[in-house]
């Protein structure tokens, strides 16, 4: 008998299903009246930096952020929201990795990763990033600085609201990010960063 058959046979002997509870409906939660300010507060709590940016001013704000960090090489997701910004960065003389050029080796050499955000959670200050072609997983992981562009309308109250919108088929990777990478393994002292980005900056845009 294969390992698979042996395990399943042993389990079937012990299986006796209690009914699967219907999906958690939850008691009424304090739904924040203003999701945006709740998100800004909670994201700041976990060490992310949040700036409200007018959509029209996004490209110049991104160029300014990259310049301020002193980075000359950046990786940016292929996303309509970022098209103008990618152009502005190139015009500013920054080396911009996009599309096919985003390999692990090239992204590892970048100091700045720019992504969009699929959804955000007000209750926890969390960003949800879905991967895919032109949406490198490493862009929010290897560079020292992660800049995420979040349209305000994508903020949800809590994880329960958000999971209602996450449906099959799923992308190969969906990543929840809550602040910069951290550890407290040594002497219980919180330290940022651990292995991921040192900073997470969120540009909140009004569309």
């Amino acid at each position: 008998m294969s390992a698979r058959e042996a395990i399943l046979a042993a389990l079937r002997r012990g299986d006796a299903a209690a009914p699967l509870p219907p999906l958690y409906a939850g008691s009424p939660r304090d739904s924040a009246t203003d999701l945006t300010s709740a998100f800004v507060q909670r994201a700041a709590d976990v060490g992310a930096e949040v700036h409200r940016i007018q959509s029209s001013a996004l490209p110049s704000a991104i160029v300014a952020a990259v310049m301020e960090a002193g980075e000359r090489e950046i990786v940016i997701w292929d996303d309509p929201l970022l098209d103008d910004s990618a152009g502005a960065l190139r015009e500013a003389g920054i080396t911009v990795l996009s599309g096919e050029a985003q390999t692990i080796e090239t992204v590892a050499a970048c100091g700045f990763g720019i992504t969009t955000v699929d959804h955000a959670i007000a209750e926890t200050g969390t960003l949800l990033l879905g991967g895919g072609p032109g949406r490198s997983r490493a862009a929010s992981l290897l560079p020292a600085h992660h800049l995420a562009v979040l349209p305000e309308v994508r903020i949800r109250a809590d994880l329960f609201d958000l999971m209602r919108e996450v449906r099959s088929p799923l992308p190969s990777s969906l990543t929840f990010i809550t602040g910069p990478s951290r550890t407290a393994d040594i002497g219980l002292t919180p330290v940022r960063p651990a292995h991921g980005p040192t900073t997470v900056t969120i540009f909140l845009v009004n569309r």
Binding site: S2, A6, I7, L8, A10, L11, R12, D15, A16, A17, A18, L20, P21, L23, Y24, R29, D30, V46, E100, Q102, T103, I104, E105, V107, E123, G125, T126, G132, P133, S136, R137, L141, D158, L159, M163, S168, L170, P171, S172, S173, L174, T175, F176, I177, T178, S181, R182, T183, A184, D185, I186, G187, L188, T189, V191, P193, A194, H195, G196, P197
Partner: protein
């Protein structure tokens, strides 16, 4: 192999001042973080009850959900392997690593610790690097983790500073942020050159074939993003039916574990990288392992222990764990959940001492985010230890004596008189007590007994 002698193993821990200081500080800190994180969730108790119900249902239909998980992982392009025990799992993973190139990076996984995977990989010529900071330090020190989520909690910052300086030949840094930076630099190289990434699994979603990994450092993301091959090892109990239930489990787990509203990174991985994607593993392997779990699953009472989501909350509130640390439990799983799981994995003959390493104060049962009745399970295990003849002779003699004295009113009254007289006598000269009674009074007072029995006064 002789069994786990908890009294003996904890003895050394109780004399270790460094360990005592580190443990006390850590456990107090964990509890301070947990309390507000749970308090701000108004429906915390309802969430616990719901999670308990989902786990109970899933454990009652494991064969169904595991086959569903298998077909969904395959449909997403992953590969699935089944392992009856740790040796089979290690063989499967070793084979994958051998074919992929032997440079292995690992993120923290108690299940891989359980089967001593690193030894198997290294025995096969692989270079294995633990990448969770705490696990990396443990690996450098040649030790084992002492806490489910804080593996190096027993070590002081000073000891870690010495360790890194000695093992890496770097200057002796003393600040946690400097020490972390050193490890980050060393490990970043390992990530970039690795062939294989090995992780555990926090949850595996049957309906979508999604592997969920929860962490703070980013090392698990690196392990599952950079190497060409990702291998995930899961115990059969990690499967959950529905994607939407992650909302409940991801609300409970971080708040119970570290007191965070959300862990820094939660990765939902569905198959390997897809056409057009430039990173993520080219191959994804899921190893589904039994290793004693189906026997626990078949146990009508103890099966509940498989609901554990490995948050470590029961460790942090346990007065015994706080004083002994994790190593005294002689197993990778320590604290109350370890005292339940280890006897189930290894049998009460070998690990029968562990269920007695508890004051039965009940804090573990109160804190458990999936509402496992830990005190009840500990009591049941104690009963089994006694039933299998595992109680020490002195205890059996004492109970026999007590039964004889307490089952007849006359004997009870007479025994009370004798004991009161004896205690008054001893109370004047406690130093005269013979061993082992002398040990009792060496650290405790011996208050004099009341003049007469309550029953006498009541009669008057």
């Amino acid at each position: 192999m002789s069994g786990i002698d908890f009294v003996q193993t904890s003895e050394a821990a109780l004399r270790d001042a460094e360990l005592q200081g580190a443990m006390r500080a850590a456990m107090v800190r964990f509890r301070e973080l947990q309390r507000p994180a749970q308090a701000e969730v108004s429906d915390w108790q309802a969430l616990r009850a719901y999670a308990h119900g989902v786990k109970r249902h899933t454990l009652g239909a494991l064969a169904h959900y595991l086959t569903q998980l298998e077909s969904q992982v395959l449909a997403a392009g992953g590969r699935v392997h089944w392992a009856r025990d740790g040796a089979e799992a290690a063989e499967i993973i070793t084979g994958i690593a051998r074919a992929a190139g032997r440079r292995v990076v690992k993120s923290k996984s108690m299940t891989t610790e359980e089967i001593h995977l690193n030894a198997a990989l290294e025995g096969d010529g692989a270079q294995v690097t633990e990448t969770d900071l705490g696990e990396y330090l443990i690996q450098l020190a040649g030790e084992t983790p002492s806490h489910i989520i804080a593996p190096v909690v027993h070590k002081s910052t000073e000891a870690i500073a010495d360790l890194l300086a000695a093992k890496l030949g770097v200057p002796r840094y003393s600040e946690p942020h400097e020490l972390t930076a050193v490890a980050r630099r060393v490990l970043r190289e390992r990530f970039l050159e690795a062939d294989v990434g090995i992780t555990g699994v926090n949850f595996a979603v049957a309906e979508t074939g999604t592997l969920v990994i929860v962490e703070n450092e980013g090392n698990a993301r690196l392990v599952t993003t950079l190497p060409r091959v990702h291998v995930a090892l899961m115990g059969i109990e990690k499967v959950i039916p529905r994607l939407a239930d992650l909302a409940v489990f991801l609300t409970l787990l971080p708040r119970a574990a570290t007191g965070q509203r959300m862990s820094t990174y939660v990765s939902l991985l569905t198959g390997p990288r897809r056409p057009g994607e430039r990173d993520g593993p080219e191959a994804q392997h899921l190893v589904i392992m039994d290793n004693g779990r189906s026997a626990i699953h078949a146990d009508p009472v103890m099966g509940e222990a498989l609901s554990c989501i490995r948050c470590g909350a029961c460790l942090n509130v346990c007065p015994v764990f706080e004083r002994t640390g994790g190593h005294a439990y002689g197993s990778v799983y320590s604290g109350p959940i370890g005292a339940v799981l280890t006897p189930l994995f290894r049998g009460v003959r070998e690990a029968g001492a562990l269920p007695f390493a508890s004051s039965l104060c009940g804090a573990c049962g109160e804190i458990c985010p999936v509402k496992i009745d830990l005190p009840g399970l500990l009591l049941e295990l104690r009963a089994r230890v006694v039933a299998s003849g595992g109680a020490p002779l002195r205890e059996r003699l004492f109970i026999a004596g007590w039964t004889a004295a307490a089952s007849r009113p006359g004997r009870f009254t007479a025994a009370g008189r004798v004991l009161r007289a004896a205690l008054r006598l001893i109370g004047r000269r406690p130093a005269w007590l013979p061993f082992p009674l002398s040990k009792w009074v060496s650290t405790r007072d011996l208050p004099p007994p009341a003049r007469g029995a309550f029953r006498d006064r009541w009669r008057r």
